[in-house]
Amino acid sequence: MAETIVDITGLRKVYPGKTPVIAIDDIDLHVEDREIYGLLGPNGAGKTTTISIATTRAIPTAGTVHIAGTDVGAHPAIARRVIGVVPQYNTLDRSCTIAENISFHCRYFGFSSADAKARTAELLDQFRLTDRATAYPQQLSGGLAQRVQIARAIAHRPRVLFLDEPSAGLDPQSRIAMWEAVKGLREHGITVVLTTHYMEEADALCDRLAIIDHGRILVEDTPAALKGSLGGEKIYELKLDHPQRSEALAALLRSLDGVTTVEPTDEGLRVVAHARDGLLAHIVGMASEYGLRDVATSEASLEAVFIKLTGRDLRE
């Protein structure tokens, strides 16, 4: 069995106040060496708080985080040696060029001047940034700035890289370039933990992922196994003229063979059912008498897994 490099046990974080907010509610998580691990969940699920605690920027209410054997809460300054972080926002040093951003980062981690210079050249080449070496962060597009942030975060050769919503605000092309860069980190011996609320990203990038909501892990597995857990179920989204009067239709649909759940949505009903021939026609036939405007079907996807677990859409 591979070495566990990120070990989170019984993690809890409550932000005190008049109405205390439970950001994380008893999370256990184990990430193996050289894995790409995803935390998938909607905004406010507790993903960023989990990463903040693991990267020494927040103090847990209870529980521990060990990174490569170091207790992050007890020895934050030492733990930072093995951690690289790319936060949600651009934190590049605006007073320094791209190359200086990377080389000063190396100096902070004890590299000599010559080593820092060599490492910077290597990373600029690896992330195809050499021609922008003398540009300032303000002159870069979002996608390029993100690549510089990743290059800088791994400059001191950390064991684990934490990426918080890495594709937020990126155009599709930059997102794919970023995915390639992240996948390439494995061969450099770096474990990646990332948060995302994009299904496609979790699906394309992660070896394993945890679906997280309201500060709890709902399920944890490989993307393939999670999708397989649906057992060939499909989701039918029905849009109705009068969604508020859909109970009678819901009762009818539940009686159909193969239908597992029917629940109301803002625009009508969501039907989860084992796919079989003629089912769609049946559903449409029944619903058209109740003012069916539109119907959308989706295959087994992480989105469907999330909907099945929480009854909610990820973007709701």
Binding site: R57, I59, R80, T91, L92, C96, F109, G110
Partner: protein, 284 residues
């Protein structure tokens, strides 16, 4: 392409890695300061230059007592106004540097750019990141203090009567005052919400300057004991009085030992408040 080797920092003791990280942060700040030397020089020179020019060159050349108030003020203090002004201008230069080098950049880093996050991820305790800011600010304050001397020599129309009675005392005052101003900048930068940082000039900087015995010796306030003892909660008073004691002792000043003691007390207090505020800002 590199092999998955460990970085040099993983094989050394915590203390060595802290020292190297601290040195790296200082190096970066010096490097950026060197590149932005023009704006820096304008910042440190403009205030003392204008003050000396207006109060010790233009005004003494004006005709009549009504148009030359500084002559009377100086006569009251038993010296020319250039001499009264010298320690005060150095005190202001030291304090402004602390605000400009720590408080204003921190407000920007906390509020807009979040650049501070990368520094906080350096392999050293968070408090050390805050202390680095204070020390770097102190270096700038010492430079700003030194810049005032040549200006005070060349600009005024009446010669400044300054002589150093004790170099160790002068150095101690300048170093303590410079650290104190950095700590003040840290306290302001972490306690004031970034959006309101523009207000600090009106609410903090102006009152502590004008009530900081900068343009008059503390002893001159004896006509109003409430005011005279009230201003003692202002750390700038001890900076001005310390410099007065070190440079222009003929003017009358507080006890030297008391000045050093109060500078140390305020330094410790502001460092504590500033570092606690900094930790609260970056660690949730």
């Amino acid at each position: 392409m590199s092999n998955p080797t460990v970085s040099p920092v993983n094989s050394v003791s915590p203390f060595t890695s802290y020292t190297r990280a601290f040195g790296g942060l200082l190096l970066r700040d010096l490097y950026v300061l060197r590149r932005e030397i023009g704006p820096f020089l304008i910042r440190v020179c403009m205030n003392p230059l204008l003050f000396l020019f207006v109060f010790t060159y233009i005004m003494p050349h004006m005709e009549g007592a009504a148009l030359n108030p500084t002559a009377r003020m100086a006569a009251g203090a038993g010296a020319n106004f250039s001499t009264v002004l010298l320690p005060g201008l150095i005190a202001v230069a030291i304090m402004f540097s602390g605000i400009a080098a720590v408080a204003l950049p921190l407000a920007q880093e906390f509020g807009i750019t979040r650049e501070i996050d990368d520094r906080v991820m350096c392999p050293l305790p968070v408090t050390a990141v805050a202390l680095e800011k204070v020390i770097f600010s102190a270096v700038q304050s010492i430079f700003a203090a030194c810049v005032v001397f040549p200006m005070a020599y060349y600009v005024p129309s009446t010669k400044v009567e300054a002589h150093v009675t004790s170099w160790p005392f002068l150095i101690a005052v300048v170093v303590l005052a410079s650290l104190l101003s950095g700590a003040l900048g840290l306290t302001i930068g972490t306690l004031v919400p970034p959006k309101q940082i523009g207000l600090i000039f009106g609410v903090v900087v102006m009152p502590i300057t004008f009530l900081g015995c900068v343009y008059y010796p503390w002893i001159a306030l004896r006509f109003n004991p409430v005011l005279q003892y009230g201003v003692l909660i202002n750390p700038i008073v001890y900076i001005s009085e310390g410099l007065r004691a070190a440079l222009t002792p003929a003017l009358g000043h507080m006890n030297q030992g008391l000045i050093l003691l109060m500078l140390c007390i305020f330094l410790a207090l502001l460092l504590k408040i500033g570092c606690d505020g900094f930790r609260r800002r970056v660690i949730s």
